[in-house]
Structures are given as structure tokens and as C-alpha cells.
């Protein structure tokens, strides 16, 4: 009993920490900015948490958040580098013809932005936090386009997305849907804009998107005489 107890205690500590870091991935501490902690091993995660806390302590004195932001950004990049997106064989490419001044540009974002008066999940749809519990439904579901007329201002927009923390886009849609910046570019004469722009929730069935939905969307945009497209991933 006494011989095995230290090992049991250690196992319990390991399990407790593993449970803690994994809980950021749709668990008790669900946080889309830090869900990557579940991808790290215990030592990596422990070191990172300690570094973040140390950086936070520095920021209290300096007011400088950039080092902390860079630390988390590097950690995210390292954690996701090993995912298993399959390699495709072909590389479709349509050359540009001329500059953008006469082109009708379409903006598409996968950030789940939508007009406040046009919730794709209906009036009273789930909050950002509530959407996290629906992640499996989203991943099995069919993505739909939210229409954003070109003259829509940021104050008319909000966002919901079960794969990243869309409270950021709620605060500033321009973080993932830069229509306001594009309007400025259009006013300066650099490009033209399509009448309607689109967003969807990128957390969705990849098979259905590839085989059915994306081809249908492409046909729709061709019919709308879109010339070029800027896409933003989240």
C-alpha cells in the first residue's frame, strides 16, 4: 500500500492535469482560443501555461501584450502543424486578366458572420457559447450562405461559430470579414465590388462541401457575374 501510493498519487496528478488541458477542447473549460492545449502532451502544456502566466505578469507592469500574443500564436501554429489534411493531386488556377479596377470582387468568409436581422439559425438562435455544444451537428451538417449586401455596415453584423471564438468577430467583424476595408478600396477606385457578399460556418462536413455544396456555390457566383474572389479562413 505504502509502496504503491506515491505512484497512484502521481498518476492521479497526471490524470488531473490531462483532464484539465483536454477540457479546453469542448469540455468544462471550453475555449476555442486554447483548445489546442488538448493536442499537446502534459509537459508541453504545463510549460506553456507557465509561460503564459509569466507573460501575463510582465504585461501587468509593462502594459505590452504583443509578446504574450506572439507566444500564444506560436503555440497555436506548433500545435496544429501536424493535422491530417489530405494532399490533393491537382492545383486549379485561373489567371487574372488585367487589374482589379474593372472587376467585381466577391468577399467570402468562413467566420460565421451574419446580419443581426437575418440569423441563419432563426430568431433567438444559440449564443456563441451555446453553439459549442452543437459542434457535432455543425460538422455533420450542410453549410449555408449568409447574404451580406455590399452596403452593410459592421454595426449591423454579428457572428457565431463553434470552431473558433467568434466573440472576436462580434466585437469587430473586420477581423474575419473586411467588407468595410474593401469598400474603402472601392471608393478609391482600386476595384469594384459585387452587390452581395457571403459568409458561412467553416466547421462543416468536408465531404458534402466538396462534392455538393462548393460546386453549387461556384455556379451561383458565376451566375452573379463575379470576376474575382477574396476568401478569409478562420
Amino acid at each position: 500500500m505504502t509502496d504503491t501510493q506515491p505512484q497512484d498519487d502521481e498518476q492521479q496528478r497526471e490524470l488531473a492535469f490531462r483532464t484539465f488541458r483536454e477540457s479546453f477542447y469542448y469540455g468544462d473549460h471550453a475555449d476555442m482560443q486554447f483548445k489546442f492545449l488538448a493536442k499537446l502532451d502534459d509537459d508541453e502544456a504545463a510549460d506553456l501555461v507557465a509561460e503564459i502566466l509569466a507573460g501575463l505578469g510582465d504585461a501587468f507592469d509593462t502594459g505590452e501584450l504583443a509578446p504574450l500574443r506572439d507566444l500564444v500564436q506560436r503555440a497555436q501554429a506548433g500545435a496544429y502543424a501536424g493535422d491530417a489534411t489530405p494532399q490533393v493531386e491537382d492545383a486549379p488556377f485561373t489567371p487574372m486578366s488585367g487589374d482589379l479596377s474593372g472587376a467585381r470582387l466577391l468577399l467570402i468568409s468562413a467566420g460565421g458572420v451574419f446580419r443581426r436581422d437575418d440569423d441563419p439559425m432563426g430568431p433567438g438562435g444559440p449564443s456563441q457559447h451555446e453553439s459549442l455544444d452543437l459542434i457535432k451537428d455543425f460538422l455533420r451538417g450542410t453549410p449555408t450562405l449568409s447574404e451580406i449586401p455590399v452596403d452593410t455596415v459592421d454595426a449591423q453584423l454579428t457572428a457565431r461559430h463553434p470552431g473558433y471564438d467568434a466573440t472576436t468577430a462580434q466585437r469587430d467583424p473586420g477581423t474575419v470579414f473586411p467588407l468595410d476595408v474593401l469598400r474603402e478600396q472601392a471608393e478609391q477606385g482600386r476595384l469594384g465590388l459585387a452587390d452581395t457578399h457571403y459568409t458561412f460556418v467553416g466547421a462543416t462536413s468536408q465531404t458534402r462541401l466538396r462534392k455538393e455544396v462548393a460546386p453549387a456555390w461556384a455556379g451561383r457566383f458565376v451566375a452573379e457575374e463575379v470576376d474575382v474572389c477574396l476568401l478569409v479562413a478562420t
Binding site: 476555442m32 482560443q33 500564436q73 497555436q76 501554429a77 500545435a79 496544429y80 502543424a81 493535422d83 489534411t85 494532399q87 490533393v88 492545383a91 486549379p92 488556377f93 485561373t94 489567371p95 487574372m96 487589374d99 482589379l100 467570402i108 468562413a110 467566420g111 453549410p143 470552431g163 473558433y164 471564438d165 472576436t168 466585437r171 469587430d172 473586420g174 477581423t175 474575419v176 473586411p178 468595410d180 476595408v181 474593401l182 478600396q185 482600386r190 460556418v201 467553416g202 466547421a203 462543416t204 468536408q206 462541401l209 466538396r210 460546386p215 456555390w217 461556384a218 455556379g219 458565376v222 463575379v226 470576376d227 474575382v228 474572389c229 477574396l230 476568401l231 478569409v232 479562413a233 478562420t234
Partner: protein, 83 residues
């Protein structure tokens, strides 16, 4: 996942004659490579802030302008530019 979704849509648009440029964060740059996207701008931003931080309109404009430049400049497939 979401970066892959954007990649699938971009590939389909290119195949239908619409030139595209996609903006990705560094954490998912490898997804752009595996999907062999035509034009990709990689930003060194946190997830969920692909175009720039909240309220930083200057940075967001810089990213959009870089993406538009890439759209015009790229002379072949799989052109990747980092900001």
C-alpha cells in the same frame, strides 16, 4: 477544419474560372499547401483574427491590400506569400 473549408471553395471557384486569393493564419498554412491553393496570403495572427486584431483597422487594411496585390501579381498556381 475551417481553413480546409475555405480551401475547398477556393479550388471550386478556380475550376469555374474565378481567380481567388485566400487569407489563412500561420497555424493552418500547411492546409493551403496540401490543398494546393492558387494564391494564399499567410498572416502571423491568432486564430479568429485572420485579417487583424480587433479595432486595428490599419492592420486589416494592410492585409487586404496585400491580398489584392497577390491576386494581381501571382503568375502561377500555389503562390504563397507571408505578411
Amino acid at each position: 477544419m475551417c481553413h480546409g473549408s475555405v480551401g475547398l471553395v477556393a479550388r471550386e471557384l478556380e475550376a469555374n474560372g474565378i481567380p481567388t486569393v485566400s487569407v489563412f493564419v500561420e497555424a493552418f498554412a500547411h492546409v493551403a499547401g496540401r490543398l494546393r491553393l492558387p494564391r494564399v496570403l499567410i498572416t502571423p495572427h491568432l486564430m479568429g483574427r485572420t485579417v487583424g486584431p480587433v479595432g486595428d483597422r490599419g492592420r486589416q487594411s494592410e492585409v487586404v491590400e496585400a491580398a489584392l496585390d497577390l491576386l494581381v501579381d501571382a503568375d502561377g498556381p500555389e503562390t504563397v506569400r507571408r505578411l
